[in-house]
């Protein structure tokens, strides 16, 4: 069975541009979450989507947005990119949003903003 897949794996963008990152969860998983990991730190929660609705949001500016599609895949969009947005973006899928559901992560998208 395929795990969580993310695309692209690497991306270079210029300040002020917009970027879209994509994630396909494990088959049967309905919850997708996004995390940002900057160098030397643990991942930080950005969003959770479940059944195509935003269920949770971390402390990130409105430049960050996401959506989930009927097939449970998801997109993370970042507008007006800043140098500080350079990071590894990780997508996690889980079976549901119930208490204590195990999360599985994709390989990440490494975004560099120049």
């Amino acid at each position: 069975d395929a795990g969580v897949t993310q695309s692209p794996t690497h991306l270079i963008k210029t300040r002020g541009q917009h970027v879209t990152l994509r994630c396909s969860p494990i088959s049967g998983h309905k919850s997708v979450s996004w995390y940002q990991q900057v160098l030397g730190q643990g991942p930080q929660f950005i969003f959770q989507y479940y059944e195509k609705e935003e269920r949770g949001r971390g402390n990130f500016p409105d430049r960050f947005s996401a959506r989930q599609f009927p097939n449970y895949s998801s997109e993370l969009n970042v507008n007006a990119l800043l140098l500080g947005d350079s990071a590894l973006y990780l997508c996690a899928s889980s079976l549901s949003r119930s208490f204590g559901t195990e999360a599985f992560f994709g390989q990440g998208t490494r975004l560099t903003v120049v």
Partner: protein
């Protein structure tokens, strides 16, 4: 929010040695997971262990939820064990996000 502290921040071992990594958390949790981040950035699930003890080969983990800590044991370490180990928790009542510690960087020398 919930605080997650991992120790030690760095650990250097010779191949064959044993080690213990610790994760302390500041509130009750529904979920606790240990991950190994490989050099390419992917988080590999090691254990899903909100309480109790589990073993998988040379690795084992124990979570004492009432005392708010978890331990990851690595026995007979190998060079392939090198990397960053993260503990992540889901706070009780906020069933939508994992909060990660800063990780332990493990280096196993041949």
């Amino acid at each position: 929010g919930i605080q997650v502290e991992q120790s030690p921040p760095d650990l250097i071992l010779q191949e064959g040695a044993n080690s213990t990594l610790r994760c302390n958390f500041s509130d009750s949790v529904n979920n606790l997971q240990w991950f190994h981040q490989n050099p390419w950035g992917q988080l590999i699930n090691l254990f899903y262990i909100p309480s109790g003890t589990k073993q998988n080969g040379r690795l084992s983990a124990t979570t004492v939820a009432t005392e708010r800590y978890s331990l990851l044991y690595i026995s007979s370490s190998q060079t392939t064990d090198s990397g960053v180990y993260f503990c992540a928790v889901e706070k009780g009542g906020s069933n939508y996000k994992l909060t990660f510690g800063k990780g332990t960087l493990l280096t196993v020398n041949p």
